[in-house]
Symmetry: C2
Subunit: 195 residues, 2 copies
Amino acid sequence: MGRIVDERRHAERREAILHEAYRQFAVAGYDRTSTASICRGAGISSGTFFHYFPAKLDVLVGILSAGLQQTRQALSRIETHSIGLPAVLAYAGGVQAEMSDPHFGGFVHAVAGVELLPEVATVLEDEASLIRAFLVRHLSDASARSEIRGDASPVHLAMWTQWLLDGAAQHATGTTSPSAEDDVVAAVRALLSPP
Amino acid sequence: MGRIVDERRHAERREAILHEAYRQFAVAGYDRTSTASICRGAGISSGTFFHYFPAKLDVLVGILSAGLQQTRQALSRIETHSIGLPAVLAYAGGVQAEMSDPHFGGFVHAVAGVELLPEVATVLEDEASLIRAFLVRHLSDASARSEIRGDASPVHLAMWTQWLLDGAAQHATGTTSPSAEDDVVAAVRALLSPP
DNA sequence: TTCGCTCTAGAGCGGCTACTCTAGCAAAAT
DNA sequence: ATTTTGCTAGAGTAGCCGCTCTAGAGCGAA
C-alpha cells in the first residue's frame, strides 16, 4: 500500500498554499480572500486545497503557527549572545527587519480583523506572552544594571515596548528607506533610556 | 409636499443604527457582522436599514466620520488651553479615556481588518494626518522650549507617539483599572522625556 | 379629501462562499 | 498484474449575504 508517497512534495505544496494565502490575506484581508482565489493563485484545485487543510481558517492558523515558531527561534538565538537592553534592542531590530516585507503590514491588519476568533486568539496570545516574558526578563536585568530608566517598572516598560512595536508593525508599508532601517530600534531606545 | 417629516426622529434612528453597528463590529468584526444582524439588534427591518444607508460600508464610514469630527473637536478644544508637551499629553489622556469603552478595542481591530478599502482608508488617513499635524506642531514647540528630548526630531517623535498610541488602542480591553488610568500618558511622557 | 412624499416592513433574489463528492490517475506493495 | 492508497481535479451543493422591490402606513400641503 502507498503510504506517504513523497514527503518533500507534500511539504512543498503545503507551504506553497500557506505562502499564497499569506500574500492574498495581506492584500485583501482574511474574509475578503476566497479559497477559490487562493487556489487560482497557487495553481491548484479546491480538492487539493481541502486535502491539505480541513478548513480555510486552518490556513491562517498555519501561517500564524509558523510565525510563532519563528519568533521562538529568534528569541532564543538572541539570548545566546545578548542579555538586558541589547537583547531587547536586538528583538526590536528583528521586528524592524520583518517590516521590510512588502506584505507584512497588510497581513498584520488582516490578522487584526479576525483576532477574536478563538483559534486565532490562542496562537496570538501564545506569541504575545512569549514576547512579554522575554521583555520582562531582559528589562528586569537591564534595570538592575541601570541600563534603562528606573522610574517605571520592567512590567510597565515591557507593556509599553509591546505597544510601540505593535503600533509600528501596523504602520509598516514595506518601503525600505535607508534612514528608517533603525527607526523602530531608535524609538524603543528612546522609550527605555534613563531620564 | 412632505419634505423632511421629522428631522429629530430621522437623526435618532440613524444614530441608533450607527451605535448598534459599532457594537456588533466591535464584537464580531466588520465582515462577520451581517446587515440582518444589525437590523435585528436595532429593531428595524432591512428596508429601513437601506433607507438610511445606501450600503453596509456606508455605516462603517459613518461611524469613522463621526469619530474624525470628534477628534477634530477634541484637538481644537485642547489647543484653547494648552500648547507644547501639555497639549500632547492631554491628547494622550483623551485616547486613554476612549480606551475605557468596552467596545473600543474590538472596534479598532474590526477597522484594521478593512483598512485597505478605499473609502475607509480615506477617512483614516484624514484622521491620522490631522493628529500627526497636531503632534508635530506641539512637539516642535515643546522641543523649542526644551520640554522634551532633543536627540530626535519632532517629526520622528510624532511618529513614535502615534505608534505608541495605536499600539495601546489595539490592546484596549475596556477594563478600567484605577492604576491603568494614566498608563498611556505615562508611556508617552517616558517616550518624550529628555534623557 | 386628495395628492405627494417619506418612512417602514418584509418577502424575495442573484450571486458568492466554504466545502463536499466522485471519479480517475500515479505509484507503491503484493 | 492487481490491488491499495495518496493525491488531484473539478463539478456540484446548501446556505448565507447584501441588496432590491413592492405594498402600504403616516403625515404635511393644497
